[in-house]
């Protein structure tokens, strides 16, 4: 007892406020509190950012950089800033630190040497905001193409269909006089050309810049040496149209024989400007857009966004948190979504391994039964648009008509409770067991996956990997336990974790997670019964536009694919209708891809497809 009392405070275990205190003591000139209304964390002088970040990681123990994103404060502060959210892998609240730069010649030192996981996020900030990152080895555009005119997320950059800063547009609401965007755009398309545009002066170096620096061709000196025979390196393009890339993803692979030397992900083929549109939308306009991020698990995306905005709203007046029934329904939906996603992921991982479509067909058949429930409840199979700030928009229906359970060619009419109980206690456990029985011990699967796509624990943390990719490498990090939300603290479940960090373990982990989800769902059923008839929405339904307090918030949930975070900034009139000033999505698929190149190095080309399948990406979220 006395030993413990004498022992000095270990900085890597103190809470966030104390950690900030230590940081300010260490760097009195460089670290200052963020005193703006509704903001948390510290502002770091950019010239000392690297030193401060090193101290945050090494001395204070915030070893997991969840998110790094840029914000343009044109008209408010005339500066841009990078916002970093660092967590401890043992769980807890984030240490938020920011670095500011003037808008002209903006530059912020790269943190890639401290957290390699910022690689793509810094490239994204360069692409969309034009902030340059000295020290970044591969600073080029990532979502748009090389040569695109301007940096589109800057507040003074207007898209071709620009009508007004904020929605709802005057032309549509409240008068309802609609002008089509085509009539407003001089070229009639979603295109704006610069005034002095000339095709003859155009040089398309999009591809050339991609291949530059890949070290192609024969190394003549190596041929002359007496070492083993060197072969010419070959560049293979996988995608963007390729059946195994899970969408329009592209990998440029350099091969030596069949072995991979370098792999560079190329993305942006589905960059549909989620964030720019999100900043024009009013707060609740964004809910249906979040469906289309990770379009396999729309319910979970809804929850993440609702949590982020509820965080902001809770600071304002007249806010009541979601009711208990709303939370129960939310967890029900989110855990069913996790099963939907993992069924899909396993089915398509097997597709990638060459078991073409048979396992996937079985997985999809089970998935349809859950989708029937979603359709009966939310009205849509895929894009549910179900959650609201303060609850959900509709209660679970009394009865459900399901076509997946045809009996003598007739649609069956179920009582919802009965349908759910049967689904959760019988149908889905059986489906999971079935997959487990037929796949887990398969000789082919074991040979193809064990030891392939190895990701060591330290690398996974450093590269900000999340979800099954992180837990498959032996890190028991799950947002539901690390920073609990909703009613997860009162539910009994374990964080699934596997230790070998290869494809096989990621597959097993998904089976484990489905079983844990079923365990949660079994606890949800009695709660659902108990709260029947209670309110499922806490707010005042007559309020069309929620009032959101000024400030920033970072809401995150454990999505099936990993940690999904929403960084939202509210500025503007707290009394009138508002729009997000910044709406950023920390997409697990996007950040998990950072480590893909590392994982594939030295593997055979046929394994790339399986490794990508084991990460389980979805392009709507990767490119946003």
């Amino acid at each position: 007892m006395t030993d413990q009392m004498i022992a000095p405070v270990r900085p890597e275990t103190v809470d966030v406020d104390a950690a900030i205190g230590i940081l300010k003591e260490r760097f009195p000139d460089a670290v200052k509190d963020d005193t703006r209304e509704g903001y948390v964390g510290v502002v770091v002088e950019r010239s000392q950012l690297v030193e401060v970040a090193t101290a945050i990681r090494d001395e204070l123990g915030f070893d997991y950089l969840s998110s790094a994103t840029a914000v343009d404060y044109l008209g408010i502060e005339d500066s841009m800033e990078m916002v970093y959210h660092a967590y401890r892998i043992s769980g807890g609240k984030p240490l938020v630190f920011k670095a500011q730069t003037p808008r002209e010649n903006s530059s912020i030192p790269s943190l890639i040497d401290i957290w390699p996981g910022v690689d793509f996020q810094e490239r994204e900030a360069y692409d969309l905001y034009g902030i340059s990152f000295p020290g970044h080895p591969n600073q080029k555009r990532i979502l748009m193409w090389e040569g695109f005119n301007g940096h589109p997320m800057r507040k003074d950059w207007k898209e071709a269909y620009y009508e007004a800063e904020l929605k709802p547009f005057e032309s549509r609401w409240p008068k309802g006089y609609v002008r089509r965007s085509e009539e407003l755009n001089i070229f009639g398309k979603n295109v704006a050309y610069p005034a002095d545009f000339d095709l003859s002066r155009l040089s398309d170096d999009t591809e050339a810049s991609l291949y530059a620096g890949m070290g192609l061709g024969v190394d003549v000196e190596a041929l002359n040496s007496d070492e083993e025979l060197k072969t010419d390196r070959l560049v293979v393009n996988l995608g963007p149209h390729h059946p195994s890339t899970h969408g329009v993803f592209r990998m440029v692979v350099t091969l030596n024989g069949e072995t991979i030397e370098t792999l560079e992900p190329v993305m942006g083929y589905l960059h549909r400007n989620h964030e720019k549109i999100g900043e024009r939308n009013a707060w609740n306009h964004n809910m249906p857009f979040t469906d289309r991020l990770d379009y396999i698990s729309s319910m979970s995306n809804n929850l993440g966004y609702a949590l982020a905005v509820e965080q902001l709203m809770s600071r304002g007046m007249r806010y009541t948190p979601p009711t208990y029934r709303a939370e129960v329904i939310r967890v029900l939906m989110v855990e069913l979504t996790r099963i939907v996603n993992h069924l899909w992921a396993i089915g398509f991982l097997l597709n990638d391994l060459g078991a073409f479509f048979t396992p996937a067909l079985y997985a999809i058949a089970e998935r349809e039964k859950i989708l029937d429930f979603f359709e009966a409840t939310a009205g849509s199979r895929l894009m549910c648009n179900y959650m609201r700030f303060g609850g959900v928009f509709k209660d679970i229906p009394e009865r459900i008509r399901s076509t997946a359970n045809l009996l003598n060619d007739k649609v069956r009419d179920f009582e919802t409770t009965q349908y759910l109980t049967q689904l959760i206690t019988e149908t889905l456990p059986r489906a999971v067991d079935e997959l487990d029985t037929f796949l887990t011990d398969s000789e082919i699967i074991k040979t193809r996956t064990i030891g392939v796509g190895y990701l060591p624990t330290e690398t996974a943390i450093a590269y900000s990997a999340a979800g099954p990719l992180l837990r498959g490498s032996g890190v028991a990090y799950d947002v539901r336990r690390a920073e609990p939300y909703s009613i997860y603290p009162e539910l009994d479940f374990d964080v699934a974790v596997r230790y070998n960090g290869d494809i096989y373990d990621r597959y097993l982990l998904r089976i484990d997670e489905m079983r844990e989800s079923l365990r949660i769902l079994k606890q949800i059923l009695p709660r659902l019964e108990r709260t029947k008839g209670e309110s499922f929405f806490s707010g005042n339904k007559a309020v069309y536009m929620p009032r959101v307090a000024i400030g920033e918030a970072y809401g995150r949930v454990e999505n099936p694919k990993g940690e999904l975070g929403y960084y939202v900034v509210s500025q503007g009139d707290p009394k009138g209708p508002q729009n997000p000033w910044r709406y950023h999505v920390r997409a697990p698929s996007f950040i998990n891809l950072t480590v893909l190149g590392q994982m594939c190095k030295g593997q055979k080309v046929a394994d790339v497809v399986a490794i990508l399948g084991s990460i389980d990406i979805v392009l709507g979220e990767t490119d946003r």
Partner: protein, 276 residues
Amino acid sequence: MSSLDLRQLHDTEFPIPDEMQGNLAITSLSKVYNWSRRSSVWPMLFGLACCAIEMIATAASRYDTARFGMEVMRASPRQSDLMIVSGTVTKKMVVPIVRLYNQMPEPKYVIAMGACASGGGPFKEGYNVVSGMDQYVPVDVYIPGCPPTPQALINGLIALQKKIDGQSLANMDDVPWYGVGPSDPVPIPILGPDIIDPRQMGMIREQAMLAAAGQPYGVRELPAVAMQIATKKISAGAAVAAVSAASVVVDAEAEAARLERRQEAVARKRALLAKS
């Protein structure tokens, strides 16, 4: 039978020899040809976004496109008849899509699945989003929905089958791959400061000059023929009695344009044949 003129088959009075009665059925060549084509439309294994998930669900066991002979999804454009544009078409992606379309052998069909592929959908205002696939490639069937349910996709596929059924071998406009030869490839868009459709360079230069002259939104001009039809329709709307007359005029005009196109097509083929 070497002297058999296939055109005689259309004549229902064609005499069937007695010994072959009961073994033969007479139908039009187009019908047999279309029946076999419509029953084996192979889609390209080509998913863009959210709609691709519903497309896969449609191909899976519950909805099962195998019932329509469409279960063989080919990853190569060279082996496929149908491109289902399933999702948001971005400016970056439209370049490969047009290239893939050009690589498909004729007869080829395009389905714009969902709101995004049909007209930009919820992401239309985005700076990297193309307002519909038909800006670059001719589309045969549009399917509304975001995303369309599998039932809607199947409905679209049946609509395509009906379209194939309606095509006639006798009409070179319907089956240009037999009549005139393969159609010209669609020019591939270029990624410059923004996306550039090479077919529209003239318009782009003109409008860009307008913009430089300080006219922010120049009036877009409709193509001449469309303008004529539009004005006629408007004037027809003034008097009810004139409506039918005006529509007849429009139809006659369209018929004349079609005939002209066809004559041009035949002339082109003659020239090709003469060359070879």
